[in-house]
Amino acid sequence: MANSKRTLAALVYNRPGVLNRVASLFRRRGFNIESIAVGRTDDPKLSRMTIVVIGDNATVEQVRKQLDKIVDVVKIIDITGDDMVSRELALVRVKATTATRAEIVQMVNIFRGAIIDVGSNTLVIEVTGDEDKIDSLLNLLRSYGIREVARTGRVAMTRGGTIGSIKAEEEAATGRQR
């Protein structure tokens, strides 16, 4: 079966060690994480993780089921598909001389990026988009001399529905018990 890039969205309890539990599971079972992004949600009890994994269907399904077994993982779904929207943010420090500065700024504008810091011979660029867009900007900047790159990894949602809230989960759970 063919390998592909898959995006899992997880709601996890905002507790010490949760990230460790998730990361340790990947290591132990030999799954590859492409990226993992974690942040709070509007519910202080919960964080949201966006995990990008590479594998065939069976592997990714195994990853999902194993992650779902972690007690601190409230919900996890594979949101890969047409109705997924995803973004990544990157900060790039690039070498810039008086001769190249204008050129770089122009290019950043085309990518709807922003210059967020100007040093004597470098610029710090901020850009958001899908991975391909960021990759192509980085490719173009390479010839000027990239000094430093920081990327967040993908965060993603589906266009239509939500992956749910803890309240929805609780309701579903009590419904199931009935």
């Binding site: 996890v12 309890y13 460790n20 599971l25 069976a58 779902d68 007690v71 409230v74 919900k75």
Partner: protein, 572 residues
């Protein structure tokens, strides 16, 4: 009412129905030990090594179906539990392990006897907790027991800093567990159960593989109903033995690497495998790509992640076996399968379990058969790991669930004695036999002292072959008989037992086997028999590692299987 953390813990354990703790004290748990006598309902059994505490709690859990509890101090006490926790994890045994931790202010400072035991046990527990406030103890203990015993059971560890035991707080003990991220599914999907029933009804030659899930879910009756209604032969895994009576006409005994030839043949030639509460371990399936090549596969398990993990599955059913089988049984037709059952009887006739035809030797298989005969099969057998374990699986017919207790997934030598002690503590009316190898016994034989101090009567049979026998067998078969690191000197086990105050005897001849077993059985207390068995006896049949179940090696004497000098276990 305000209580100290230590008292809250004890009260919470009592609320959870705990009556015994296997433990070993140390600095960080002293405040807990100090209050233990106030709680008369909690019996403390002092082990001689914390590994023994974890195995005893595990043995207790497997024998009773209740949660077993072990307790150790921080640092080395906690790390000594690790093997036992991993063992419980791989065999889905409900255990709660409690460890002391250094005081909160010292955590992370490499304080005396500090280890990160929640970090260490993260991949070998179902869940674990570091309890940082005494006020959390009630709710965490409640959750821990709920997690340990429900869904797919497993070990849960509670790490409690020394000063949390001392801290006073309001004791709140919730009557409900709120775990949004944890909801085992009990009801199988109705459409999938229907598909399974259709496959069963249309199948010509189906086989059931019954795993430990049958025992955990208390589904033995439902399994039997399915089997008898639809006339499906049953092979059990090592941990599933007793889930279906080994004496039943439709029992094929164990499958897998050292399973019966006819169980493996039935599976390889089946058109439908119905796997109930087993995880298709590689010791059971042999080479996965050649497993049951013509069969459709139905897999029922409460752990969704087990389905499709190792073997392709046609009908996945996530649910509790008892519940699923109750529904399935209403959809399955009564059926007789004369052709298939005749075929199976032919396998059984032509490939019976066979042992050496040399009559006068003291064969280990004979020891197990004699224990079976003389107990009338009414005993709990706790095995070591290796050849002794496989002979216990082959030559004792288990008719009740929870009567074969064995380290399956981890294969932990040294499990036998402490687990037997735990099983006997949990089921004081059972006759509990610890069947040990001479190697494994030496890994935890210090627990003889535990049995003596706490008056736990276990009958111990050492199958003393002078080797790490199973490894020697591999060396014989696959490494040209180069016996490296496997010849084993042992102390005089009879004298060892006597030094602990346990009566013992040595058996060198076949003719003395039954008398020794009878003496052990009639003695009111622990008793040890050192059986000096045939040193180079091998376990057969054997599916070589990496081979398919079809490529099994039978006993060299199997050709003479019909000769009168060969005794066989036949259950037809």
């Amino acid at each position: 009412m305000k209580l100290s953390g230590a008292r809250m813990l004890c009260q919470a354990l009592i609320n959870e129905g705990v009556d015994v703790i296997f433990g070993f004290p140390g600095g960080s748990v002293l405040p807990l030990y100090d209050v233990l006598p106030e709680f008369q309902g909690l019996r403390h059994i002092l082990v001689r090594h914390e590994q023994g505490a974890a195995h005893a709690a595990d043995g207790y859990a497997r024998a009773t179906g209740k949660v077993g509890v072990c307790l150790a101090t921080s640092g080395p006490g906690a790390t000594n539990l690790v093997t036992g926790i991993a063992n419980a994890h791989l065999d889905s045994s409900p255990v709660v392990a409690i460890t002391g931790q250094v005081a909160r202010a010292f955590i992370g400072k490499d304080a005396f006897q500090e280890v990160d035991i929640t970090g260490i046990t993260l991949p070998i527990t179902k869940h674990n907790y570091l309890i940082m406030n005494a006020s959390d103890i009630g709710s965490v203990v409640k959750e821990a027991f709920h997690l340990a015993r429900t869904g797919r059971p497993g070990p849960v560890l509670l790490d409690i800093p020394r000063d949390v035991f001392v801290e006073e707080a309001e004791f709140n003990y919730p009557d409900k567990v709120e775990l949004t991220g944890y909801k085992p599914i009990h009801q199988g999907h109705p459409a999938q159960i229907k598909r399974a029933a259709e496959l069963i009804n249309s199948s010509e030659c189906p086989v059931i593989i019954a795993g430990r899930g049958i025992i955990i879910s208390d589904a033995c009756e439902q399994l039997r109903e399915l089997v008898e209604k639809s006339q499906i032969p049953v092979a059990t895994t090592l941990l599933g033995m007793g889930g279906f009576p080994g004496t039943h006409v439709l029992s094929l005994g164990m499958l897998g690497m050292h399973g019966t030839a006819y169980a493996n043949m039935a599976i390889q030639n089946s058109d439908l495998v119905i796997c109930l509460g087993s995880r298709f371990d590689d010791r059971a399936t042999g080479k996965v790509s050649a497993f049951a090549p013509a069969a459709k596969i139905v897999h029922v398990d409460i752990d969704a992640a087990e389905i499709g993990k190792n073997v392709r599955v046609d009908v996945p059913i996530v649910g509790d076996l008892k519940v699923v089988l109750q529904v399935l049984n209403t959809l399955v037709n009564s059926k007789s399968r004369p052709a298939w059952l005749e075929q199976i009887q032919k396998y059984q006739r032509e490939h019976p379990l066979c042992v050496s035809s040399e009559e006068d030797k003291l064969l280990p298989q004979h020891v197990i058969s004699q224990i079976y005969e003389l107990t009338g099969g009414d005993a709990t057998i706790v095995t070591g790991v290796g050849q002794n374990q496989m002979w216990c699986a082959q030559h004792f017919l288990y008719t009740r669930p929870k009567t074969l207790i064995s380290s399956g997934g981890l294969g932990t030598m040294g499990f036998e004695l402490p687990a037997a002690i735990g099983a006997k503590v949990g089921c004081p009316k059972e006759t509990v036999w610890c069947i040990a190898g001479d190697g494994g016994f030496q890994m935890t034989m210090q627990e003889l002292a535990t049995a003596v101090q706490d008056k736990v009567a276990v009958k111990i049979a050492i199958l003393n072959n002078g080797y790490l026998g199973m490894v020697r067998q591999w060396q014989e078969l696959f490494y040209d008989k180069r016996y490296v690191g496997t010849p084993l000197w042992s102390p005089d086990f009879v004298k060892i037992a006597e030094a602990y105050g346990i009566p013992a005897c040595r058996v060198k001849n076949k003719k003395d086997v039954s008398a020794a077993i009878t003496t052990a059985l009639s003695y009111d207390g622990s008793y040890l028999i050192d059986f000096m068995v045939e040193p180079e006896e091998n376990v057969y049949p054997m599916v070589p590692p990496g081979a398919s179940l079809a490529e099994l090696m039978e006993h060299p004497d199997a050709r003479r299987a019909n000769a009168s000098s060969t005794f066989t276990v036949s259950n037809v």
